[in-house]
Amino acid sequence: MSDKGYITTAWLVLSLALLFGAALAGVEMLVADRIAANKLQETLSQVSVLVPGADEGKAYELEGQVFYQALAGGERIGWVIPAAATGFADKVEILIGVDAEVSTITGLYVLAQKETPGLGDRIREDAWRAQFKGKSTDSPIAVTKVAKPGPFEIRAVTGATISSKTVANLVNATIASVREPLQSAGE
C-alpha cells in the first residue's frame, strides 16, 4: 500500500465523521422538542387526575425544587409534588397530589418503580393508590395489615409490606418537609 491509500482513508474517516455529525444534528433538531415535551407531559398529564377539578398544570420552582401547580380556570386549587425514595428493589418515584392548603391528599401516582413483579409492583394498582385519596395530612399515615384501616392508616399490599411502607413513609416525609414552604407560597 502506498501513501495514497492512507490519504484516501483519512479523507474517508473525516467525511464520514462530518456526515454522521450532520445526521445527528438533524435528528436532534427534529426530535429534541418532542423528547422534552414527553418528559414534561408525563407529569403534567397526571395533574388533572391527582388534583380533581384541575384543568392545567404548571411547573413552579421553589428553593431549587420543582413542584407543579394545579390550576382550575387560572386559579390554584392544589399542588402536585414529585418525590422519590428507595423501595424494596430500587428507586420508587411518585407524584403526590394535595389541595392548595396542603391539608388533604387528593391523589397518588407511581411514576417509576422496579419492585418485585406481582408483589411490590402492585403499589401501581388503582385500588391501592386510591387509599391515599382524601387522607388528611394532620397526622402521618401508618401502614397496617388489618382489613379495615383507620383514618390515618392504609392497608399494605399483601406480601409487600416494605414497598407499601416505602410509599407511605415517602408521602409522610415529603408532606412534612414541603407543607410550610408551599403554604406560604400560596400567599
Partner: protein, 229 residues
C-alpha cells in the same frame, strides 16, 4: 446519611445486589466464554475491573465537563463564540459515540502500558484486553454514571468518588460472578451432562441458579442504610 456510608452502599449495590452479570445481564459473552478455568476467569475479571475503572473516570470527566446540559467547559467555549448568549448547550447526543471511543482507547492504552511496564502481568491477562472493548459491562458502567450526572439537579449529581466506587464495585461483582461460575464449571466437567445441554446450555442454567442466589441480596442496601442512619 454519612457520605462515606453512601459510597459503601453504592459499591455493595453494584457488586452484589445488582450484580452486573446476574441482574443487569451485561458482560454475558465473557461470562459464558471465559469461565472454564478459575485462573483465566479471575484474570478476565481483574482486567475488566481495571479497564472499567479507567473508562469510568474518563467518561465521568467528559460527561461532567463537556457533555451534560450546562457543562462548564462547553459553556465556556460557547461563551467565547457567542458572548452574552443565554442558550444552555447540550451535547449529550454525542455521549454514546464519545463513550465507545473512550473505552476503545483506554483498552488500547492499558494494553500498551501493561505490555511495556508489567510484562508478567501482561502474560497473565493481556490476551483478554482486546476482547474487553466489546464487553457491554464497561459501556454499561459509563451509562449508569451518565444517568447520575447528566440532566440531574446539582444536589444529587454524582462526583468522581461515586463514579469510581460504582466502577470498582461493578468490576469486582463481575469478577465474583465469573469466578464462581468457573468454579462450578470445573466441577461440571466431571458430570454427566445431557448431550444437548453441554457447553453454553448448562452454563446458562447454572447462571440462572446463581442469579436466584444473588436475589437473596435484595434489600441488604436498605437494611444497611437504616442501620447506619
Amino acid at each position: 446519611m454519612h457520605y462515606f456510608i453512601e459510597l459503601i452502599l453504592i459499591g455493595i449495590t453494584a457488586a452484589l445486589i445488582k450484580n452486573f452479570v446476574l441482574y443487569y445481564f451485561v458482560g454475558i459473552c465473557p461470562f459464558l466464554g471465559v469461565s472454564r478455568k478459575i485462573d483465566t476467569a479471575f484474570g478476565m475479571g481483574m482486567a475488566v475491573t481495571f479497564v472499567i475503572t479507567i473508562a469510568s473516570f474518563l467518561s465521568w470527566t467528559f460527561t461532567t465537563f463537556i457533555l451534560r446540559p450546562g457543562a462548564p467547559f462547553t459553556a465556556w467555549i460557547w461563551g467565547m463564540i457567542n458572548p452574552g448568549s443565554e442558550v444552555v448547550v447540550d451535547l449529550s447526543i454525542l455521549s454514546y459515540i464519545i463513550y465507545i471511543f473512550v473505552i476503545a482507547s483506554s483498552v488500547q492504552f492499558v494494553e500498551m502500558y501493561v505490555r511495556k511496564f508489567f510484562p508478567p502481568l501482561y502474560k497473565q491477562f493481556g490476551v483478554f484486553l482486546p476482547l474487553i472493548t466489546t464487553n457491554c459491562a464497561i459501556l454499561f458502567a459509563c451509562l449508569e454514571i451518565m444517568k447520575h450526572v447528566s440532566g440531574v439537579p446539582d444536589a444529587t449529581r454524582w462526583g468522581l468518588p461515586e463514579a469510581l466506587v460504582l466502577a470498582i464495585g461493578g468490576g469486582l461483582g463481575f469478577t465474583i460472578a465469573i469466578s464462581i461460575m468457573a468454579g462450578i464449571r470445573e466441577e461440571l466437567d466431571m458430570c454427566d451432562v445431557p448431550e444437548a445441554l453441554k457447553g453454553p446450555g448448562i452454563a446458562l442454567l447454572v447462571a440462572g441458579i446463581l442469579a436466584l442466589a444473588f436475589m437473596g441480596f435484595t434489600g441488604v442496601d436498605r437494611g444497611l442504610a437504616s442501620l447506619f442512619s
